[in-house]
C-alpha cells in the first residue's frame, strides 16, 4: 500500500539498461538520465564491507585508474546482468537520482528493455533487480520493439519494418509487423566488441597496450565502418609491451576500419540472416523502405553505407539513435496505459 502511495509521487520510468550506458526516460519529461553503466566499489580491507564509491559518469572516470581498495566494474555484460547485487545498487542510485527533488522515497512503475536473445533466467534477474531497486511494478520489453517505437517506425501497420539496434553489448535485429516481432535475432557484438577489436589491433600491429577508455575514444573520433573519401588521424598513447614504457603513436581511420572488420561482419551477417529468414511479403516491404539503425553503434561513421552496400537496401539512421530504446520504452508504457493491456510486454 505504501508503495502505491509513494507511487503517486513517482514518475513512470523506462530504463534502457545497457552494457555501456543506462538511459532513463521519465514520462512527461523525456530522457532524464544518461550515465555509463559503471559502479565503483570501495572495500577498505579484505573481507570488510563493500561500499558504493561512485556510480555512472564519476565511476567511469575511475575505470582503469583505481587504487587497490576501489574497483570500478561494469555490472552488465553482453546486455545481461553479470553482477546482480551491483546492478541493483546501480539502478537504485539512478532511480533515486531522477527523483532527487522528491520528499518521498520513489516507487515508480518501471519498464526495462531486454535483449531479445536473453534467457528467462536473465530476464528474471533484470526484473528482480529493478524491483529490488524500488520499482513497484516492472515490465520487460524486447529492445528491438522499443527501438522501433522510439525511432517512430510504423510498427502497428500490417507491413514489415526492420530495425537494427547496435548496443554496447549486443546487436539486435528484428522484423516487426502489427505490433509484434515476426523475426528477431541477437548477436553478442556491440560497441564493447569494437573497443576490444581496436585494443587487439593496436597490440598486434604496434605492440602497444591501450586501455578501454582510449579504445573507445579512438572509435568515437576516427572509427569508420566503410572507406570514406577522407582519412582521419588521431594521436594516442599506450604502453609499449616490449619496453614497458608509455609511447604515443598515430592511428588513422583506415586502420580502425581494418580493426573493426571482424565485429562488423558479424553484424552484417546477422542482418543478412534476418533478411533470409523474413517471410517474403515482409521482406519485400523491408526492401522497399529499408532498414532503420538505432543504438550507439549507429553513430559509427558510415555504418549505413556499409549496410547499404552489403544488403543492397536503403539504410536509415534514426534520429537520436542513442536514446531510441529508452524513448520507445516510455512510449510503450504510455500505450500500455492507454490500451489497458500488456501490449509489447515480454515475459
Amino acid at each position: 500500500m505504501f508503495k502505491g502511495i509513494r507511487g503517486l509521487f513517482s514518475n513512470d520510468l523506462s530504463i534502457d539498461l545497457g552494457t555501456a550506458n543506462t538511459l532513463i526516460y521519465s514520462r512527461g519529461q523525456g530522457i532524464v538520465l544518461n550515465e555509463p553503466s559503471v559502479v565503483a566499489i570501495r572495500q577498505d580491507r579484505d573481507g570488510g564491507p563493500k561500499h558504493i564509491a561512485a556510480v555512472g559518469q564519476e565511476a567511469k572516470l575511475m575505470l582503469g585508474r583505481t587504487p587497490g581498495n576501489i574497483r570500478a566494474v561494469r555490472p552488465l555484460k553482453d546486455g545481461v546482468i553479470a553482477d546482480f547485487t551491483v546492478t541493483e545498487k546501480m539502478l537504485q542510485n539512478f532511480i533515486k537520482k531522477v527523483h532527487e527533488a522528491r520528499f518521498f522515497k520513489p516507487s515508480p512503475r518501471v519498464l526495462v528493455c531486454v535483449p531479445c536473445g536473453s534467457t528467462q533466467v536473465e530476464r528474471r534477474a533484470i526484473k528482480e533487480s529493478a524491483a529490488g531497486a524500488g520499482a513497484r511494478e516492472v515490465f520487460l520489453v524486447e529492445e528491438p520493439m522499443a527501438a522501433a517505437i522510439g525511432a517512430n517506425m510504423p510498427v502497428d501497420e500490417a507491413r514489415g519494418s526492420m530495425v537494427l539496434d547496435i548496443g554496447g553489448g549486443t546487436s539486435e535485429v528484428a522484423v516487426l509487423s502489427l505490433n509484434g516481432i515476426v523475426y528477431s535475432a541477437s548477436v553478442r557484438i556491440g560497441g564493447d566488441r569494437f573497443d576490444e577489436a581496436i585494443i587487439n589491433y593496436v597490440r598486434r600491429n604496434y605492440g602497444i597496450l591501450i586501455g578501454e577508455a582510449t579504445a573507445e575514444r579512438i572509435k568515437h573520433d576516427i572509427g569508420t565502418a566503410f572507406p570514406g573519401t577522407e582519412v582521419h588521424e588521431l594521436e594516442v598513447r599506450g604502453r609499449n609491451l616490449a619496453q614497458g614504457v608509455p609511447r604515443s603513436f598515430t592511428l588513422n581511420s583506415n586502420e580502425i576500419l581494418e580493426a573493426l572488420q571482424e565485429p562488423l561482419s558479424g553484424i552484417v551477417g546477422a542482418v543478412k540472416t534476418a533478411l533470409e529468414q523474413t517471410p517474403p511479403e515482409l521482406g519485400a516491404d523491408v526492401a522497399e523502405r529499408g532498414i532503420v539503425v538505432t543504438g550507439g553503434g549507429a553513430l559509427l561513421r558510415n555504418i549505413d553505407r556499409l549496410l547499404m552496400e552489403e544488403t543492397g537496401l536503403p539504410v536509415v539512421i534514426a534520429d537520436e539513435p542513442l536514446t531510441c530504446v529508452a524513448r520507445g520504452g516510455g512510449r510503450a508504457l504510455e500505450l500500455m496505459d492507454e490500451r489497458g493491456t500488456d501490449l509489447f510486454v515480454a515475459e
Binding site: 517506425m153 510504423p154 532503420v292 547499404m308 543492397g312 536509415v316 489497458g340
Partner: protein
C-alpha cells in the same frame, strides 16, 4: 532526365517553397549526377529521389524513413545534413496516420496513469489538514467530547454516585455555547453545561455545570438554574440560601446563584453530593456565574461553593500545567480520572480517605477542606500516589 526538366520540379521555387528538395536538386545538377545515379548509390527507387527533389512527401514512406533518405542524400552530395533536415522539419511534414493505432484496438482503462500534476500534493495537504483537526480534538478532550457528545453519558453515568461530583469550570467558558447539563434521572437538563455535576439520585437535584462552555449561558440566562432546579423542585427554597460561600468566592457567582437559586437550587444543596466549583473565568464572567449558579442550585439554595456535606471532604486541585489525575474516595467512587490541563481547577467532594494519584506534582496544588496539602513530600519523582484523610 525528364523529371528534372518538368515544371513540377520547379514548383517549390516558384511558390516560394522552403523544402530541401530544390537545394538537393541544384547540388546534384552541379555535380552533373543523374537521378538514377543517386538512386543507385542510395539504393532507393528513382521515384523516391524525384519526390524528395520535388518536395512531394505524401508519396513517400513515413517521416522516419523520409528523413533518413534526405539525410543520406545530403551526405552523398556532401551538403550540411543539419541544414537540409531543418529545412525539411520546417515543412511540418507528418505521417498521414498516427502510429500505434491498430484497427480495432479500443482504449482500455488507464492503468496506473499518473494523476494530474499537483494532485498528489493536494492530497497530502488534505490528509495533513484532516490529521491536524483530528489531533486537535484528540488532545483537547473537551472539544472532542463536545463534538461527539460523549460527555453527556459520562456525566450521566457518574450522577448516581452518591456523593462525589465534579464540576469543572472551564477556564474559557464561552458565552452561550452549551452542551447539556445532565440532570439526574434524566430530567431537566439545561442547555448550558457540557459536562455536568451530578447529584445523588435521592436528592435529585443536580446542578448542571458547564465544563467550558455552558456554564456561562447558565449564569446569564438562568438556564443553569433551571437545570438544577428542574431536578429538585420540591426543595425550592433558598436561592440565596447558600449564597454566603459563593458570594465570598465571586460576586458573579452570588448573583447567578441567586437567580438559579430562585429557580430552586436549594434542594440540590441538600443533596449531599453536589459540588460546585467555579473556575471563575473573570474575563467571561458569566461562565463563573453559570457555574456558581449550578453550585447554588446544588448547595442549599444557591450556595455556589458551599461547605461539603456532612461526612464528606472537599478536595480542590489547581493546575498550572497538564497532569494526570486520579482520585477515588472511600466508597470506591472515582471522583477524578483523566488528564487535566493547565489553568484549570477541579474540586471534588467525597468520603475520605481518598486514594490520590497525581501525575506531575510540580504543576498541581491541592487543598483539603481549605488546608493546603504539600504534594512534593509525597512524590516519588514527579508522581505522587498517596492516601489523604481519615475514615469517619
Amino acid at each position: 532526365m525528364a523529371s528534372f526538366d518538368s515544371p513540377v520540379a520547379e514548383a517549390p521555387e516558384e511558390t516560394g517553397g522552403h523544402g530541401p528538395g530544390r537545394r538537393l536538386r541544384l547540388a546534384r545538377e552541379r555535380r552533373e549526377l543523374a537521378v538514377g545515379a543517386v538512386a543507385d548509390a542510395l539504393h532507393l527507387h528513382r521515384h523516391v529521389v524525384v519526390a524528395i527533389e520535388e518536395d512531394r512527401y505524401d508519396d513517400l514512406p513515413p517521416v522516419t524513413f523520409t528523413r533518413g533518405y534526405i539525410r543520406s542524400y545530403a551526405r552523398f552530395l556532401e551538403l550540411p545534413e543539419t541544414e537540409i533536415l531543418e529545412a525539411f522539419d520546417r515543412l511540418g511534414v507528418r505521417d498521414a496516420s498516427p502510429t500505434f493505432t491498430p484497427p480495432g484496438s479500443e482504449s482500455g482503462p488507464r492503468r496506473g496513469a499518473g494523476l494530474p500534476a499537483g494532485t498528489p500534493w493536494l492530497l497530502v495537504v488534505l490528509v495533513v489538514a484532516v490529521l491536524a483537526v483530528a489531533g486537535w480534538f484528540w488532545f483537547n478532550d473537551d472539544g472532542f467530547g463536545a463534538l461527539i457528545g460523549r460527555d453527556q453519558p459520562e456525566v450521566g453515568a457518574s450522577a448516581p454516585a452518591a456523593s462525589g461530583t465534579v464540576e469543572q469550570q472551564g477556564a474559557n467558558a464561552t458565552e452561550g455555547s452549551g452542551g447539556a447539563a445532565s440532570g439526574v434521572e434524566g430530567d431537566a437538563v439545561t442547555g448550558t453545561g457540557s459536562s455536568a455535576a451530578s447529584a445523588p439520585p435521592e436528592d435529585a437535584g443536580v446542578a448542571a455545570s458547564g465544563e467550558q462552555t455552558g456554564i456561562t449561558g447558565a449564569g446569564d440566562t438562568g438556564t443553569g438554574g433551571a437545570g438544577s432546579t428542574g431536578t429538585a423542585p420540591e426543595v425550592g427554597d433558598s436561592a440565596a440560601a447558600g449564597a454566603p460561600e459563593s458570594g465570598t468566592e465571586s460576586p458573579a457567582a452570588a448573583d447567578t446563584g441567586t437567580s438559579s437559586g430562585t429557580a430552586r437550587g436549594a434542594s440540590a444543596a441538600d443533596a449531599a453530593s453536589g459540588v460546585a466549583m467555579t473556575g471563575a473565568d473573570a474575563a467571561v464572567g458569566n461562565g463563573a456565574a453559570g457555574t456558581t449558579a449550578a453550585a447554588a442550585g446544588e448547595e442549599d439554595g444557591g450556595d455556589g461553593a458551599g461547605p461539603a456535606p456532612a461526612g464528606s471532604d472537599r478536595l480542590t486541585f489547581e493546575f498550572t500545567g497538564e497532569s494526570w489525575m486520579e482520585v477515588t474516595d472511600a466508597a470506591g467512587d472515582r471522583l477524578l480520572f483523566g488528564l487535566v490541563g493547565g489553568g484549570e481547577t477541579r474540586t471534588v467532594t467525597g468520603e475520605p480517605p481518598f486514594e490520590i494519584v497525581v501525575g506531575d506534582v510540580s504543576v498541581v496544588s491541592l487543598s483539603h477542606d481549605g488546608q493546603a496539602v504539600p504534594l512534593a513530600d509525597r512524590a516519588n519523582g514527579r508522581v505522587a500516589r498517596f492516601t489523604l484523610g481519615e475514615s469517619r
